[in-house]
Symmetry: C2
Subunit: 122 residues, 2 copies
């Protein structure tokens, strides 16, 4: 399975709550990292637990996947209980398995005054 | 020039303020998009102006590049006037030139209460 295929399977099995198939994509010693909150989870068991216990009736709509031989990014629209957030994930691989996941959750903000007149709000 | 090489040249020429070489990487009808602020800039001229007029003595340290044949992601540490922000960019390509750039700026936040005991703060 290529990194691209693994990322597509990652989100498909997560959405289907197929936790055995989900775990089979992961390296036993994988690391999960959320830089914005300075949180980590170590190991496959913990990572699956984070997903398995995520509250709400959520679904991840995959918008973009970019992958090379060693790593991949995905952008998802994470919909839960009527709200939608953008999630960006960086996946590292080792021996064909996902060995690291780094998640970012960028939220809307008001732009500062811009020096360039070319930026337009919509 | 591959998408990976183009992204590395993009940040190198931006850091060096080599705006002619920077512009040469870009498609004339490129689009710039900042989803968090709902801002857009249309066209190469506008995009170069956004970068050229960006305030402060900034430098982008490239931390990660993932690229396939059609698109690329970069993660940068954007240092300006003693502060550092994480920037994530998605690059689209057309005819070997960068035809779209989408930027996200995820900032720190306090995590909510977690259902899983496996997430640890550092």
């Amino acid at each position: 399975m290529s990194p691209r295929e693994a990322v597509i399977a990652f989100w498909a099995t997560a959405n289907a709550r197929q936790w055995e198939e989900f775990a089979a994509l992961l390296h036993p010693r994988m690391a999960y990292h959320v830089p914005q909150t300075r949180e980590r989870a170590e190991g496959r068991e913990g990572f699956v637990d984070v997903f398995r216990t995520w509250p709400g009736d959520w679904i991840a709509h995959v918008e973009t996947v970019v992958a090379d031989e060693r790593a991949a990014f995905s952008v998802i629209r994470f919909v839960v209980d009527g709200t939608a957030d953008t999630g960006i994930s960086l996946f590292g691989f080792e021996g064909g398995l996902i060995s690291s996941v780094t998640d970012w959750w960028p939220v809307p903000y008001d732009p500062p005054a811009r020096a360039s007149a070319w930026l337009n709000r919509y």
